[in-house]
Symmetry: C2
Subunit: 676 residues, 2 copies
């Protein structure tokens, strides 16, 4: 019994008291006993249980018990009362000679009160889970889950639902966690008693609570109430404006449904946990605050935003249509159709010429036992595509979240081509069943250089379930991790391979061509606006070689970090033959761009890969780079499709991956089952 309450009892008076089933009342018997009392006895109706502390020495059943300085009578009741004051207890006090000195009488009313949530995470609000007041990670964990209500039920004049303080559509209730107040007792509470729900000031920034106006029904299923769409009226109970509010006591055996709405994601200053309390208040007197005599508490955790790696099943592919990307679009259309997924084209009125679909947004999702939906993270990049996530994606069961850089400079590293996620990995025994987020930054040692904004990094770290790994991407002109790495599914080993761009692998391939007599084969063959260059010329360019040695060392640095932080062996990594070149920016460091289409910047749709067509030197009519890619990847059961993105993407310093985005199936693994 966790609830224990001290009760004052005056003799020669009848004290009326409300007792919550499951709690105890402690009466210090000596405190208000008649003077010179030496003994006492207790009588009660069968509905009342009591014991005496310290337990009295053996006495005959009926003889009075000696009263000591610290005699405490502990009273409890097992069942709710049907009527007010239907249970009684009396204490009789005796003097030295067992003469009766006085009698204290208690009239008791018992109620059952339980504030309930889905603490065992099965989608059903169980009754009075003993662990409901705390939160624990893992398959043997407990504690309810809450979603940030970041989708928009409205499609006209829409905004994320949590930005409005009322419920206008019943469908919105599905995005909230049901909380049930279960009560049992007489038709009404004794005069002046009331129930109050309350939250702390800190938690009120992150949560809002509504309730149903109509009485609940005796049914454990959430869905029952949800689909009874007659319920149109949901008063706001708790918010940052109202931290405490009375809630009705319905009488008899009753349930009242509450709906808990998350307002913000975990972040630097918010660990995601919130508590909601329900107290029974006792009236004291005019101009005196009512005393909470019983408090029940539930704890919920706001679901984190979760990213989806390339190894998860695609659902939809997004690309932009521009005035100049017909060839690319055609290639993508064919690939997506062949793969059997849905292609969404963002048209020019919306993209305003901004083709970098990967960079403006990242698809993720939020998940709970009762609801799950995709949530787009909108980048602070804010190019001409900036309205797309809000205008086109936000909607019913499609959430939206963004972070705005206040006093920080936004750089190219804030584009989400620089935000990826690994497949599930295990690192030195530590499991990451949802993978790890990967971002690109400057060297931690750099005294200058570009970085991902602090607001976005703090958001990503605070989600906790895909602990981020920071790579060095500032060596690239554009500065995105997707320019040198990607993950592809594989049926063996860890279920995937890490593909890394490798100038060394590129040079090895070109030297092989030269050695086999193809030194005069031409790079960029067939591209009419591009100057062609022979294998021999490439291999003779010592500056290009030294630039690529540098690039290889940058990628190797990242390779070492990835091996360590993702627990990878060399056999989990495949080097892709890709050359880079350095370009000097005005007054800045030299930075790298791909020398020919950067094949690692691919789109991964199940086993189908959409790879930038490299336009490499041809051997017997076949592009040697394409042939090498196929030979490296087809052994894993992957199918390579080369997409011509040369004019409309590669020349603008991006490729297939930069120009597309994929919404994927969420993980089967539930984030709350993580061992943290």
């Amino acid at each position: 019994m966790s609830h224990s309450r001290t009760l004052r009892v005056d003799y020669e008076k009848t004290t009326r008291v409300l007792c919550v089933v499951g709690s105890e009342l402690n009466v210090n018997l000596n405190r208000t006993a008649p003077l010179s009392s030496r003994f006492f006895s207790v009588k009660c109706t069968s509905s009342v249980q009591y014991r005496i502390n310290p337990p009295p020495q053996e006495t005959s059943h009926l003889s009075p018990i000696p009263l000591s300085d610290n005699s405490v009578l502990v009273i409890s009741m097992k069942h709710a009362s049907q009527y007010e004051n239907d249970s009684k207890l009396s204490v009789q006090y005796y003097g030295e000679k067992k003469d009766v000195l006085g009698r204290a009488v208690l009239h008791l009313t018992a109620v059952e009160i339980s504030l309930d949530v889905d603490a065992d995470r099965d989608g059903i609000v169980e009754h009075n889970n003993p662990d409901k007041g705390s939160w624990k990670w893992g398959p043997d964990g407990h504690g309810a889950i809450l979603l940030v209500n970041c989708d928009s039920e409205r499609t006209y004049l829409k905004k994320p639902d949590h930005e409005q303080t009322s419920i206008t559509r019943v469908s919105d209730l599905k995005d909230m966690s049901v909380m049930v107040l279960r009560t049992k007792g007489p038709a009404k509470l004794p005069e002046g008693y009331k129930l109050t729900m309350h939250i702390s000031q800190g938690d009120a920034e992150s949560v809002r609570v509504f309730r149903t106006r109509s009485p609940g029904v005796m049914n454990n299923s959430i869905s029952y109430t949800l689909f009874n769409a007659f319920v149109r009226d949901f008063p706001l109970v708790l918010s940052s404006e109202v931290l405490s509010q009375e809630v009705p006591y319905l009488g008899g055996e009753a349930e009242m449904n509450f709906y808990v709405e998350g307002l913000r994601f975990p972040d630097r200053d918010f660990d995601g946990l919130i508590s909601i309390n329900l107290s029974l208040l006792e009236p004291i007197g005019e101009a005196l605050p009512e005393t909470p005599i019983f408090t029940d508490k539930v704890m919920l955790r706001v679901a984190p935003w979760i990213m989806t790696p390339n190894t998860l099943q695609p659902l939809e592919v997004f690309v932009c249509s521009t005035s100049d990307n017909y060839t690319f679009l055609n290639g993508m259309r064919n690939l997506v159709a062949k793969s059997g997924y849905k292609l969404n084209i963002c048209h020019e009125y919306m993209n305003r010429g901004d083709r970098w679909m990967q960079d403006e947004l990242e698809f993720g999702y939020i998940d709970s036992p009762h609801q799950r939906f995709p949530v787009v993270l909108d980048s602070p990049r804010d190019g001409k595509l900036q309205n797309f996530p809000y205008e086109e994606l936000l909607g019913p069961n499609f959430g939206y979240v963004t972070r705005t850089a206040e006093n920080e400079e936004v750089s190219s590293l804030d584009s989400f081509g620089n935000l990826e996620v690994s497949p599930p990995v295990t690192v030195n025994g530590k499991k990451y069943p949802l993978g790890r987020i990967i971002i690109g930054v400057a060297f931690p040692t750099a005294t200058k250089g570009r970085n991902m904004t602090k607001v976005v990094q703090e958001f990503l770290f605070a989600q906790k379930v895909q602990e981020p790994v920071a790579l060095f991407s500032d060596w690239l002109l554009v500065g995105h991790v997707d320019e040198f790495m990607t993950f592809v599914p594989a049926s063996d080993r860890k279920g995937f391979r890490l593909l890394l761009a490798s100038p060394d692998a590129g040079y090895k391939l070109f030297r092989g061509l030269q050695n086999d007599g193809h030194g005069q084969a031409k790079m960029f063959d067939g591209l009419k606006d591009e100057e062609q260059i022979t294998v021999d010329e490439i291999l003779n360019d010592e500056i290009l070689q030294s630039h690529n040695n540098y690039v290889q060392s940058c990628i190797d640095w990242n390779r070492d970090v990835l091996k360590r932080e993702l627990g990878l062996d060399d056999d989990d990594i495949i080097d892709m033959p890709i050359l880079f070149k350095l370009v000097e920016e005005m007054g800045s460091e030299s930075r790298a761009v791909a020398y020919y289409p950067d094949m690692v910047n691919m789109i991964v749709l199940g086993k189908n890969l959409g790879i930038p067509k490299p336009f490499g030197p041809k051997v017997n009519g076949r592009c040697a780079l394409e042939a090498e890619m196929c030979s490296l990847l087809e052994g894993l059961g992957l199918r390579c499709t080369f997409i011509d993105d040369f004019a409309s993407y590669h020349k603008l310093l991006g490729e297939v991956h930069c120009g597309s985005n994929v919404r994927r199936q969420p993980f089967d693994f539930k984030w709350w089952n993580l061992e943290m």
Copy 2:
């Protein structure tokens, strides 16, 4: 070996490489091997160790090893080099017929680098503790400790040392954590290599690093360098302005001392942990960032601010002198002298008539293996005593911290009579060896009412080691927990008793007096400006009785919380006979004040208690309230001294405790040994 680095090696070239002892270099042999290489062999000087992955099949010692796609040569060195490039390794490549195709040569220089802190918490900076990069609580824990440098070495124009960005006195070094950079190797690093120390942007808000300009000496003792006061020049290395800076490599076997200064206490947005990194940078080329090829990391935790309960040994007592408190001051002077402690009197020029020494400040301390000093927490109350903590207490080895309410109203609940701490307790098996902080607030269910400011509450919770308990104190007009509770030492049970004001105990005592024929004995006997009132009159006052029933219920509510949160039994609590009365404020709730001097508001100096003189009814010439207090407390070995605070404190709604403060001996228990 946690550090593993991929190294590019070109054949037909000599590669010069710097290798850190304890790390590994991985050479992907196939990557840049001559075309059609099929075998390889490795030779090296005795200073170099290598192995091959995957391990080659058994071959004769001298015959070349087959080269596979993923052959990796793993190189390491056990000892620092004396000279640059004094170690060599070569790889020879062979064709199908074991014909030599090429040879890659490595010239190696080994250095030892270790950034060290006192990770085992013994006051000495040990060498390369394997756990130095993480932090763990408990007696088997690890991780270094950092103090907020919040004292002031200067006494003239003083301010907390962490508010200035330079070290002007050698004594200030004692307040910082020593960090040692230990290096061993050739006289200088190869051309272009350098060492850089760096911290993250987030950590830079909380920490500053200085170094000594003169080379260190080969000595493990912190004190050696500290007291060599010749060292006068300590350049700033890292701060919020400079996140990364080169540090000198001294050559040979060398140590350089760094001094780490904490800038802020743990708070809502700061968990107290910070990391400092030391990287070795490799030059790459002009206009290219240097690559960190090795990074060593240490982690430190900022020491929390710790309060001292009444059970700890007093060191100094503080009171105010005012124009009207001679009687009180005299009583205190006698008590403190008798107890053998130091009395500090804050004079009128400083207190400007504000006598509430308890309310303006709270004494605490910060502790680390290398340094410990008292720190005063200055309340946002800011009465006329407001300059006292800064002006009179802040000084060498006396720290100062405050919290300022920005957008919050400061109320009487922000006075530190409303901030106390329990002695060490164990609650359901969970140990609190530093006790638990106790604060007073409004009921969590209250829709109005006063509270302690959020900034102070967040500060207190963030210290973590004395997890706070919130009581209900808003029922009192002044609203401080010290008006109804205190702790006194006891040699039995849990080492202390909780004393609670109890109107029920008061009434019981008065009824006993009446019963024994002393109904006409007078309260306030001997006070010439006070209307006297008989025991009979008090007992006949039904309104007073009902007010006190309410007060008892408020205290009982707190009693239940204290029992639960401190793991107390009824036998750990003693009820003190104290009556209250309710006063109505304009347009507000009725709130309580003590009816006669509130004896629980006492000063505890070891076994000597300074108790407000109650001026109770006399029986046989002796005050019955004093007699009862003595009988309740002397059995515990405590000595009661009653101090007349009636006119100058009680009438102004405070008592002895409100008008005094005690700085106490810190705990023997070290906070980092807590199991969290």
